[in-house]
Symmetry: C2
Subunit: 308 residues, 2 copies
């Protein structure tokens, strides 16, 4: 059975919405711990304007400061050409471009329609290809609202597949299908994943779920049953959805790893190392995290018989 590949996104998707600035050395310490745990990919930060996201203003310092390990790809979110240039200069392994599958979410979140995003991606790809070290950098694109848009509702599967195809034609090497606001359900996930794998064989698709409505692990299960082996996940379940106050964030890395390992599906990840890293998060961000296994312990936890 193929081993899962988990892309840890807490340092980017998690920290970006925190009101507490996590000190740069703490970010580096966390990423180093994660990268020693067996995760294959870590989204370390975002090369975005510090005005837009002050929490990630230290992107360059973080990328320069972390340990690099063979087999652990360091990826960064990049919103535009300037961000891509900074990312290349920083020496990352992967650039993760982001666009929305829906017009209204694109305009709101990125100030660009999907068509405008695709045009911009063409420029970014040309720049990366012309860059001396660009040839070795993997280009991924994340398709937000692939399972629904909080403004316009349903996003047709045909539209998502069409955009994925156009991304691949542009030269993007991997596509992440994102359930940005936790609208996906397992039946929909199975349909889209099956169609994507059948339509673009060999393409590395990653699935990005939020646990907004409690379906995060059920959706991951459905994606895996459909043949997906790559998942974004966030330590402690950090992250969130600005349109669902009170809801939990990204699907939780250690809960995802725990489920699959319990099922006998190898992840290559040292779950105890993840749990130790997760246990430190409340101190870093100043609040409890939604992760469950860090509170309950693993399923093989044993209790002494109570004396009576």
């Amino acid at each position: 059975m193929t081993q899962l590949q988990i892309n840890e996104v807490a340092p980017r998707d998690g920290f970006q919405i925190e009101t507490t600035f996590v000190p740069t050395d703490e970010k580096i310490r966390l990423i180093d711990a994660l990268s020693a745990s067996g995760l294959t990919r870590i989204e370390a930060t975002s090369f975005v304007s510090p005005k837009a996201i002050p929490a990630l203003a230290d992107a360059a310092e973080v990328v320069a400061g972390i340990q690099r390990r063979p087999g652990v790809g360091i990826t960064v979110l990049v919103p535009n050409l300037k961000g891509a240039e900074r990312a290349l200069a920083g020496g990352v392994d992967e650039i993760n471009l982001v666009m929305s599958a829906s017009d209204s979410h694109g305009r709101t979140n990125l100030r660009m329609t999907p068509e405008q995003s695709l045009e911009q991606f063409a420029e970014i790809l040309a720049m990366v290809r012309s860059h001396s070290r660009g040839s070795s950098v993997f280009i991924n694109a994340s398709l937000s609202t692939s399972f629904g848009c909080p403004f316009e509702g349903e996003v047709p599967q045909a539209r998502v597949l069409d955009l994925a195809g156009r991304l691949l034609e542009l030269g993007v090497q991997g596509v992440t299908l994102c359930d940005t606001t936790g609208m996906a359900n397992p039946a929909q996930v199975a349909r889209l994943c099956e169609a994507a794998l059948a339509g673009f064989p060999g393409t590395p698709f990653t699935l990005h779920f939020h646990n907004t409505r409690g379906m995060g692990l059920a959706n991951a299960l459905a994606a895996w049953q459909a043949g997906i082996i790559r998942f974004d996940a966030s330590l402690g379940g950090l992250g969130g959805c600005p349109y669902a106050p009170g809801a939990t964030g990204n699907v939780c890395t250690e809960d995802l790893v725990h489920m699959f390992e319990q099922m006998g599906v190898a992840t290559g990840v040292d779950l105890d190392a993840l749990l130790a890293a997760s246990a430190r998060l409340p101190t870093l961000v100043g609040h409890e995290t939604p992760g469950q296994v860090v509170k309950a312990g693993k399923a093989d936890r044993r209790y002494p018989m109570p004396s009576r």
Copy 2:
């Protein structure tokens, strides 16, 4: 596609561990609201010693006070012969016996080994059958720790299936396989459900999950894929696990209904009515509940475009 049958257990499994006594009239009001929502079965209370569980000391008043609706079975948990007599006197539709699949959990929780529980069930069944109105009462048995025991660990599937078979031979009409402390994973759930349905065709099996480690809905999905259509669930995700402090409780009724309805699997339940009832729970129990959809809204919730 067969409609799901949801057994609401919050009034019993949820309230029994609350430190705040929910007033009897509030319990009745809640059960009446739930029974108007399309749920097919409600576990209204437990006829247990008031000393053992003071929170359910008003069991007889609750059963006497609730509205009875055609199509909504009122079931009660019964730990012993005396409880069964009280339940019959109260005029319930179903009695839910409980035993453990593991020796150590049985001794700790019920002061009985599985063998002793089976002997006791034989007496209870004989009493019920001899009772003038007993012939119309459905007898279910819940098998605790069917997916693992917090004291001894693995509970072999063959043992669970053997106990289910012996329950059915005794005259029990339905069996609930309980993941009492949230140890189950979807692969294990699929295996046990497939084996149970194949081994005892026609038997109404119910699955009872806790969300202790975040896998509640994933396990329900796996059970449904294996052919299970009956689930226990608790409004708001009330309930808990004494061996997993900080962990969430039973799988949440409205989150379960929401997932299946989003998948196009009919539940017959009015989700808005459930959500309205769930929104009142924090007032009744004095704390937030783990349910997610009541906080985030349904997946089809739409937001206005932010002005900028």
